[in-house]
């Protein structure tokens, strides 16, 4: 291998890269928060007594889980300005598309977490005179969250990875910035390798957390 690596241009762009990392984290944080809230709402709807709510939530999950995220992104990219008159906001587009996409996955994780709680727990809590709200909050939710932690951590990693797709609509996150750097400096190897590395390092704490959660799960059976 005769390629001469040269990272000497990178320090000049440390601010640019830092800002790009900020953009990636901002988009990821919004998508995680919105996706999780959507997941809670639709999981509640999916496990509800009412058929209409169950059907609606089921349709949402199927619709957004079964289409590639990039297709959703492009669809919103063209539809939002034409339908609402809001100008072409790349952050908004990516945030909406990926939140809805992530929300569908979170819904299924939260639903299966709730359903994994022993049905006897519902009966026992009701027998003890818990009100439905307190029953869910104090008895079911703590057990469900414990069961779904590994899946939640895993999906969170997926969401962070997903944000790089926003580069395709020129949202200036890490990957898009790598492209800019490589185009201005003619150093694609260094630019893309750096960004791939930065992304991996950013994901490391989450991965370690996931490993610990998985190990904890195995230990507690």
């Amino acid at each position: 291998m005769s390629y001469a690596w040269d990272f000497s241009f990178l320090p000049h762009y440390s601010l640019v890269l830092l800002r790009a990392l900020g953009s990636t984290l901002k988009l990821a944080a919004i998508c995680l928060a919105a996706g999780f809230i959507l997941g809670c709402v639709f999981a509640a709807a999916r496990t509800s007594r009412y058929v209409v709510l169950r059907l609606l939530a089921g349709a949402y999950v199927e619709l957004f889980r079964n289409v590639p995220a990039i297709v959703l992104l492009f669809w919103f990219f063209y539809t939002i300005p034409l339908m609402t008159g809001i100008g072409n906001d790349r952050f908004l587009t990516a945030a909406i598309a990926f939140s809805l996409y992530a929300g569908a996955y979170f819904t299924e994780i939260i639903r299966s977490g709730i359903e994994a709680v022993d049905p006897g727990q519902w009966l026992a809590a009701r027998a003890l005179g818990f009100t439905p709200g307190a029953l869910f909050r104090d008895i079911i939710l703590p057990q469900a969250i414990k069961k779904m932690m590994p899946a939640l951590a895993n999906e969170s990693i997926e969401v962070v990875k997903l944000t790089t797709v926003a580069a395709t609509v020129a949202y200036p996150e890490l990957l898009y910035t790598a492209k800019l750097l490589s185009d201005t400096e003619y150093r694609p190897v260094e630019a893309y390798t750096t960004v791939a590395g930065v992304l991996l390092i950013a994901l490391l704490p989450m991965t370690l957390l996931l490993f610990r959660l998985e190990r904890g799960m195995r230990r507690s059976g």
Binding site: Y3, F74, L82, T168, Y192, V195, A196, L200
Partner: protein, 221 residues
């Protein structure tokens, strides 16, 4: 604001879209051909008795699982050819990025499948005089593969979704075809609606098949 939907211009370009479908199938199919054998080898190494090879397999799997697919695509298309001084067309770059990553995911599928076979099967095979390789081929693998079919389909869905990203390095898949149709018809919303619906139908059927098989296998046990 009322938007007037017009699908007719999009359907005039149906030929182009079908060509894109072929491109997607080509990429997904060849990526699968690369990922399945490599994934099996990685799973066997990970479960095998040689510690060094097991570590290598773990690092490979975790690295590719943690990398964003689109970052890999860009890296293999823009950086890899410069690094090794060769030329790579979009198909080869996409095949490498998507296939090598899918191998990591399939390695985990195979590992779960292999581990789902009771260890007694190994002992029994040895007791009747089978060698390890023979036991693996005719006793363990058939049972392991049967158990992995639903997850295999779920990963295939992910693979199809990932292959949609290859359009970003100008590989002529169905998303790329849609981008061309959108710019030629000035009907991006309709084009991407058709594209999304097409993906939905295929992926929905595959996910349903996966879920059904999972239930049937659970009953058969």
């Amino acid at each position: 604001m009322a938007y007037e939907w017009q699908f007719a211009p999009v359907f005039r370009y149906a030929g182009l879209l079908w060509q894109g479908v072929l491109g997607t199938l080509m990429l997904t199919g060849t990526a699968l051909l690369l990922a399945l054998p490599l994934g099996l080898v990685l799973a066997l190494l990970r479960l095998g008795k040689v510690p060094v090879l097991g570590r290598v397999a773990v690092i490979y799997i975790e690295f590719f699982r943690l990398s964003a697919a689109i970052v890999l695509l860009y890296w293999f298309y823009f950086a890899f050819p410069v690094l090794f001084d060769l030329t790579l067309d979009p198909f080869s770059a996409a095949l490498l990025a998507i296939g090598l990553q899918a191998a990591a995911f399939y390695a985990e599928v195979f590992r779960a499948g292999l581990q789902s076979v009771p260890p007694g099967q190994w002992d029994a095979a040895r007791a009747i005089g089978m060698k390890r390789a023979e036991a693996l081929r005719s006793i363990i693998l058939p049972q392991a593969l049967r158990n992995t079919v639903p997850v295999f389909l779920a990963r295939l869905v992910d693979l199809i979704k990932t292959s949609a990203l290859a359009a970003t390095i100008a590989y002529p898949d169905v998303v790329y075809a849609a981008m061309r149709v959108a710019s030629q018809t000035y009907r991006p919303i309709e084009t991407f609606t058709v594209l999304g619906a097409g993906f939905f139908i295929v992926i929905f059927c595959l996910s349903q098949a996966s879920r059904r098989l999972e239930k049937r296998l659970a009953v058969g046990r």
